[in-house]
């Protein structure tokens, strides 16, 4: 499709900031549009993975472990294979190669070969002519387990060296230890007028996408595998499937179906995906699996339960002289994204309020529970909860209004933080002022009657991770464009629409550049055979990265068509304009061609018209080991004020309204931006008040509530009103200035509610979820003259490694670790696929 000329043009380059075409006002970008898939979704025509039916299809079920931690002594499948209708039964020995999303954590198996690590870990898979028969066959498989000691909590993991859940990691059941120090932290506290320490705990919760994960595999006699799946990351599934199944990647085609919600829960390659592929290869028939809701709770990869300690020093004249943050993450049974998650619990504290010196220590522990991973906000809602309450407490200590305190400390735009994150546009000040005015903060804070209160919190999030999950120097997103002589344009991109509207963003941008209607654009996405790689729908990267790739491809197409149209019309090329499906002379708008005619002129001269675009994020200034997590082409900012009503007799917290201002850079489509903001508020509200993954430590560590009835999430009756302000402070790195919106607005919600509870009833709930029981305990404690607080009071001893010391930019640092430090230095420069500093 692309000729050699355009291929050369597409050589991966560092990000080039682009402006909108200057000669005309934007027609599509920034105006409300229907999503390109809206009609299909409201008529029930969208085909999700479980909607696929193929001739001769078989149905698969997984047998899952009933033991939380055990060796598999023996598996007997002989009875199951004889059941009429059963076509194949496989166990761990049939798929022995491990996989995992991160190169450093290849610790998962399709089916456990020798050890099970949580209740729900799969040990065998059956394919049969019906789901009923497959389920019946599971009952005929005998597994003999030899129990091992169960590790229930990260505190237990820290002090238990044997047995180890995995045989890798720095020690015992610690998966990852991080110790980074930017500037001398003790000096920072010595410089302070006031120092305070706080403990926080953020409970685990899960994505609860309404669509259960499903996958269909079809092995063709031509030795090619096709795998349809409800995945956010078809490229990573492609890599994992090829590896485990020992197939050339060129013989594996992964198609991500539209996701019925993702939120990070469909970002890992999963064992059920590989299992149906293997079963299809064995039987020669298509095989489908759809997880039950209970199984989705076992797949999990949700929010890491995180214990936190933070100590900050501040001066009366408004400086944070030092901040020391410690986190302990409950990782569950496997690595998943956990190394990145652990880094993220320490990465973004510095991008909202300027910190002179910063120290971060993070530990991730293995426990015998479903693995934790990336959930909306990935690793940052937990520290943001702690930080924003901590700031609220510091403001009270100093007698300052919390809004003023934050405004005093804002990180300046176009600056570099203590941990070497490059900030571009920074609209947080505008966000704070918007919600302070909108919510009438000055009339309410500390002035409402007992039982009612307001709380403020802020946040920031990345617009895409600056580095890929596996080390490579190729683009993060690619687009191919095909121009049809009928005037249609097809966009091919590996990006995956999980409901956020990424398919639509591609169409809007291409239509804008080429002056055609959105309906003239066809979008083909998320198919590893047909589309160039996009790394996936995670880290809020898609609008910025695939949007920039689409913009580049469209501008190249425009240039080709404009050149030929100029020749045909006999006008200088800089007078050629594109609008209303026409290509015309701006000085004599009647002189022109239809867009289709212009494509035909170009095609007659050049042959088939196709272009490509690519996007690679700019290089980050950080050069120390661990500098790979946190950099982003652009940071979004949010400020939120929550109003609460607390019933002091029951501890029940009701949130009538939240005001949120979000700095999105530029809305590509304001309707979908509003939807992302409101959806984020909703999910933050659920995390703040009710959502929690709970396990029974005394009963085999089984999940207490693997159902949607008992896992409480907000219904229409709990959802609050939301007043949204969209702040548009365009970032030069975003397409048309756009930054992320899908994750950032969740982050300020839990701490804003916590701060509002304090304003309402004078007690601190330093733990999520803030259930009525916890609120009531704090209220009762206060009534008894004790500290009016619910939350953790200690942090276990962790054998931290020697810190990697990095001088700050204002100390003359160059982003590298100080020379005395052994393993840092230029580590981030080395293209080692196994080194975790490269992972986002």
């Amino acid at each position: 499709m692309a000729d050699s000329k355009t291929l050369e043009q597409a050589t991966p380059a560092v990000a080039v900031p682009r402006e909108a075409p200057a000669e005309q006002a934007l027609r599509i970008i920034g105006t409300p549009q229907r999503k390109v898939d809206a009609a299909a979704k409201v008529t029930g025509q969208t085909a999700f993975a479980d909607d696929i039916e193929l001739p001769r299809m078989l149905y698969a079920k997984l047998l899952r472990s009933t033991a939380p931690h055990a060796r598999i002594r023996h598996i007997d499948t002989s009875k199951a294979v004889t059941l009429e209708g059963v076509k194949a039964v496989i166990t761990g020995k049939d798929v022995p190669i491990p996989f995992g999303i991160l190169p450093v954590s290849q610790d998962e198996h399709t089916l456990c070969p020798d050890t099970v690590r949580f209740v729900g870990d799969p040990v065998a898979a059956v394919a049969a002519t019906s789901e009923e028969i497959a389920t019946a066959a599971l009952d005929l498989i005998d597994v003999e387990y030899e129990p091992l000691e169960t590790i229930a909590t990260p505190e237990q993991a820290v002090r238990t060296s044997e047995p180890r859940i995995h045989d890798y990691g720095p020690t015992g059941n610690i998966h990852k230890l991080i110790d980074l120090e930017f500037g001398d932290i003790e000096e920072g506290f010595a410089d302070a007028d006031h120092v305070r320490e706080d403990y926080f705990f953020y409970g685990g919760n899960t994505h609860l996408a309404i669509e259960q994960h499903a996958a269909v595999a079809s092995w063709s006699p031509a030795d090619k595998l096709t795998l349809w799946s409800s995945t956010q990351t078809p490229h990573y599934v492609h890599r994992a499937a090829a590896k485990v199944l020992e197939l050339p990647a060129s013989r594996v085609r992964v198609i991500a179906c539209p996701n019925g919600g993702g939120f990070g829960g469909k970002s890992d390659p999963f064992n059920h995906e590989i299992a149906v592929a293997k079963l299809s290869m064995i039987t020669g028939r298509p095989v489908k699996i759809t997880l039950t809701r209970e199984e989705v709770f076992y797949c999990h990869r949700g929010r890491h339960p995180t214990l936190m300690w933070v100590k900050s020093g501040v001066t009366k004249d408004g400086r944070i002289t030092g901040m020391h943050f410690k986190t302990l993450l409950d990782g569950g049974a496997y690595g998943s994204y956990g190394v990145a998650s652990a880094y993220y619990t320490g990465a973004l504290q510095t991008v909202t309020y300027h910190v002179d010196r910063y120290k971060f220590q993070g530990a991730r522990a293995f426990t015998n529970k479903p693995p934790c991973g990336p959930k909306r906000g990935h690793g940052t809602p937990q520290p943001r909860f702690g930080l924003e309450i901590h700031i609220d407490k510091l403001a009270e200590d100093l007698g300052k209004d919390p809004a003023d305190m934050r405004l005093e400390h804002l990180v300046p735009p176009d600056s570099v933080t203590a941990n070497y994150l490059k900030i571009g546009s920074m609209g947080l000040g505008t966000c704070i002022r918007k919600v302070v005015d909108g919510a009438a903060w000055r009339d309410k804070f500390r002035k409402l009657p007992y039982g009612r209160g307001v709380g403020l919190a802020c946040s920031s999030y990345i617009s895409g991770a600056g580095l890929p999950i596996y080390w490579n120097n190729m683009p993060h997103s690619g687009v191919q464009l095909k121009l049809d002589r009928g005037g249609g344009v097809t966009v091919f991109c590996g990006s995956t629409d999980i409901g956020q509207g990424s398919d639509s963003v591609l169409a809007y941008i291409v239509a804008e550049v080429l002056g055609v209607e959105v309906a003239d654009i066809q979008v083909v996405t998320a198919d590893t055979d047909l589309t160039p790689v996009d790394l996936g729908s995670y880290s809020s990267r898609v609008t910025l990265m695939s949007g920039n790739a689409a913009l580049q491809a469209a501008e190249r197409a425009r240039e080709i068509v404009a050149g030929h149209a100029a020749r045909k019309l006999d006008v200088p090329v800089d007078r050629v304009s594109f609008a209303e499906n026409r290509v015309f002379d701006v000085e004599h708008p009647d002189t022109g061609l239809t867009f289709a005619e212009a494509v035909q002129v170009a095609e007659a001269a050049d042959g088939t018209i196709g272009t490509i675009g690519s996007y690679t994020p700019p290089r980050s200034p950080g050069r120390y080991r661990g500098a790979g997590v946190g950099p982003s082409p652009a940071y979004s900012y949010s400020a939120a004020i929550a109003e609460v009503e607390v019933d002091p007799s029951s501890g029940i917290v009701v949130v009538p309204r939240i005001w949120i201002a979000h700095d999105v850079g530029q809305s590509i489509n304001p309707v979908t931006v509003m939807g992302q903001v409101e959806g984020s508020i909703y999910m933050g509200l659920g995390e703040a008040l009710m959502e929690e993954m709970v396990y029974r430590a005394n009963r085999n560590l089984v999940h207490r509530i693997p159902s949607m009835l008992d896992y409480k999430s907000p219904t229409t009756l709990e959802m609050c009103d939301v007043v949204t302000y969209l702040i548009e402070d365009p970032d030069p790195n975003g397409p048309y200035g756009a930054k992320e919106v899908g994750q950032g607005p969740l982050l300020p919600v839990p701490p804003a509610i916590a701060n509002a509870i304090y304003d309402a009833v004078g007690v601190r709930v330093d733990e999520v979820p803030m259930t009525p029981e916890k609120v009531l305990k704090a209220i009762k404690a206060k009534a008894e003259g004790k500290e009016g607080r619910y939350g953790p009071t200690s942090f276990p001893d962790v054998a931290w490694p020697e810190p990697i010391r990095v001088p700050t930019p204002w100390e003359g640092g160059d982003g590298k670790a100080a020379a005395a430090e052994g393993q840092g230095g230029s580590a981030a420069d080395g293209p080692s696929p196994a080194s975790e500093e490269r992972q986002h």
């Binding site: 969208t46 028969i133 996701n259 039950t292 949607m708 009756l717």
Partner: protein, 179 residues
Amino acid sequence: MASRRPDAPSKHQIQLVVNGEPTEVLFAPHKTLLEVLREDLGLTGTKHGCELGECGTCAVLLDGTPVLSCLVLARACDGAIVDTVESMADGPALHPLQEAFADLGAAQCGYCTPGFLVTAKALLETNPSPSRDDIKDALAGNLCRCTGYLKIYEAVELAAAKMRGEQVEPSDESIYGRQ
């Protein structure tokens, strides 16, 4: 389509009217209405989120009333009138609720959308001018993880107004936020 277990009883047959069409269907007797719609009648517009009656995703109209099709045994539906999301559009013309959901982004991932649409349709047939609280009450059994429900309320209100013959457009605040 799917094979039976060796000990499975004979298939059951019923007659019903599905989306306006008289239909005869033969199915394994334990099947729910959800399974018969999706697997035996090919009507995959109706989705499932739990198959335990917890999420509202599989809602369909049974004789005009929203029910959770995962909790209804198909064999109990002999002679019933069943309407799914596939029945809402009038030929190529979308139902006003479908138009409003599309215009306001009330369908993000779209997975829960069919359940919300048929439940809202039943509401508007009995209450053409529902208050915001009426809408919340009617939709309280449907879970949505994407939207936070707000765009869904606005879409139901917009559709209701249009169905009453009013000339209305979405408010600027719902599209652009508050200024």
